[in-house]
């Protein structure tokens, strides 16, 4: 009788140990990677939007400058730096990356466990009902106590966790390894895009600066002293925004390169127990992405 009570408990302990110990490093690493990757994705999407808006402003400024000339600019000729299709393609890929990072984190941490808990609890409760029914309808005298039913539920939950963990351990690292070249290709592609955006943003600001200067000089005395002063004061602000935007895009390029290196370390760590260097890389990536997010807020506030 004593053995009968001890057995489920021992089984539970054994299965919980099997399920818990093997899962945690992968779960911890993928969760940290997902959180950092999500920040990088958000920063990159913001950068595209900011670059397109800036270019629109530069083109509008050119439209104004040419308005009273013999060859005025046709407003229809204003085109976005990246069209809708291009923005959607980039946004879809970045969303795909975010989904990937979130899914590997969810799978590794066993996000479906509430369903498993429910099924295991129902099984224990039904087992008790079965015992009661057997006791009432047969002379066998089987009696399943509440403690034993709960132990059965816990054992089933542990067994489920173990099976899930085995499934995750055998398949998720393979998916991470398969994804690694895609992350590398994505990182290079985004970096190339950002190089173009930096080049373009630099000239967009230069155009805004020269058009603003031309506006002040052509306006001459039609501006009041106060208005003139305010317009002239905008010149150094344009230059400061130019530098800040370039710094931000350069930092984002660096974050994206770190993302690829971190994912590569994640792919290696998924099959190895040594993840110390990965933890350092994830911390570095997260710090870099968080710095950028704060920077975006300050930049958008300063441009108002």
């Amino acid at each position: 009788m004593r053995n009968r009570k001890l057995l489920p408990s021992l089984l539970c302990v054994c299965l919980l140990w099997l399920a818990g110990c093997s899962l945690s490093p992968l779960a911890r690493n993928t969760a940290a990677f997902s959180s950092a990757a999500s920040l990088v994705v958000e920063n990159t999407q913001n950068a595209y939007r900011a670059a397109v808006r800036l270019n629109e402003k530069a083109q509008a400024s050119l439209l104004v400058a040419r308005f009273d000339t013999p060859q005025p600019m046709d407003p229809h000729s204003i085109r976005p730096l990246i069209d809708e299709k291009g923005l959607k393609a980039r946004s879809d890929v970045l969303d795909g990356l975010r989904t990937y990072a979130q899914t590997i984190a969810d799978l590794s941490s066993g996000v479906s466990s509430p369903k498993l808990d429910e099924a295991a609890a129902a099984c224990g409760s039904n087992l008790k009902s079965l015992g009661d029914a057997l006791a009432a309808s047969t002379p066998i005298g089987i009696n399943v106590t509440s403690t034993e039913a709960n132990a059965a539920s816990t054992a089933l939950k542990a067994l489920g966790d173990f099976l899930v963990s085995r499934q995750v351990k055998s398949s998720v690292p393979r998916v991470i390894r398969d994804m690694d070249p895609n992350i590398d290709a994505l990182s290079q592609l985004l970096s190339n895009d950002l190089e173009i955006l930096r080049d373009q943003a630099g000239r967009d600001y230069e155009q805004l600066l020269a058009q603003q200067d031309g506006f002040i000089r052509h306006a001459g005395t039609s501006l009041s002293a106060g208005e003139r002063r305010a317009e002239i004061e905008r010149l150094p602000r344009i230059l400061a925004n130019k530098k800040a935007t370039d710094d931000m895009l350069a930092d984002l390029q660096s974050s994206i390169q770190k993302l690829a290196v971190t994912h590569h370390a994640l792919a290696v760590a998924a099959t190895s127990k040594d993840s110390a260097s990965l933890q350092a890389r994830i911390a570095d990536l997260r710090a870099s992405a968080e710095g950028l997010a704060t920077f975006y807020e300050s930049l958008s506030a300063s441009s108002k």
Partner: protein, 143 residues
């Protein structure tokens, strides 16, 4: 002043044809204008834009400034069209990469499905036990 005007003249003539070449009538993914696949030419245009920029700020006469900036605007448009074309070329690469990332996410969905089937198996076992218990509870009435 005369040297600045010469610079402006030099830029206004090459500015015309590459602009037309860089903006073909809305093809799905326009290729870069052949002349601009040469990085030396692109770098030369960028250098010219910067030199004209310095000339603009050095000039003290408003007419000279306007002439220089006019030429600079043309180069700006050429280089913007070039960047637009480069970004559009990258769009095709993003679309190709998207299908690969989707494939990977599909593999993750399959794993999710396998995990769900583990839960489902435990639920099925629970249902079987419940069904047996129900039969046993009504068996004495039937017998």
């Amino acid at each position: 002043m005369p040297p600045k005007k010469i610079s402006a003249k030099k830029t206004s003539s090459p500015a015309q044809s590459p602009v037309a070449a860089a903006t073909p009538p809305a093809p799905p993914a326009p290729a870069l204008p052949p002349a601009f696949t040469n990085p030396d030419i692109v770098d030369a245009y960028k250098a010219l834009y910067d030199i004209l920029g310095r000339a603009y700020w050095d000039a003290s006469d408003l007419n000279a400034k306007d002439t220089i900036q006019g030429a600079r605007d043309h180069i700006y448009e050429i280089l913007t069209d070039l960047n637009r074309a480069r970004l559009e070329a990258n769009t095709a690469l993003f679309l190709a990469l998207k299908s690969k990332i989707d494939d990977n996410n599909k593999a993750l969905d399959d794993i999710k499905e396998k995990i769900n089937s583990i839960t489902k198996n435990i639920s099925t076992a629970s249902s079987v036990i419940a069904a047996i218990a129900k039969v046993l509870s009504i068996a004495p009435v039937l017998l």
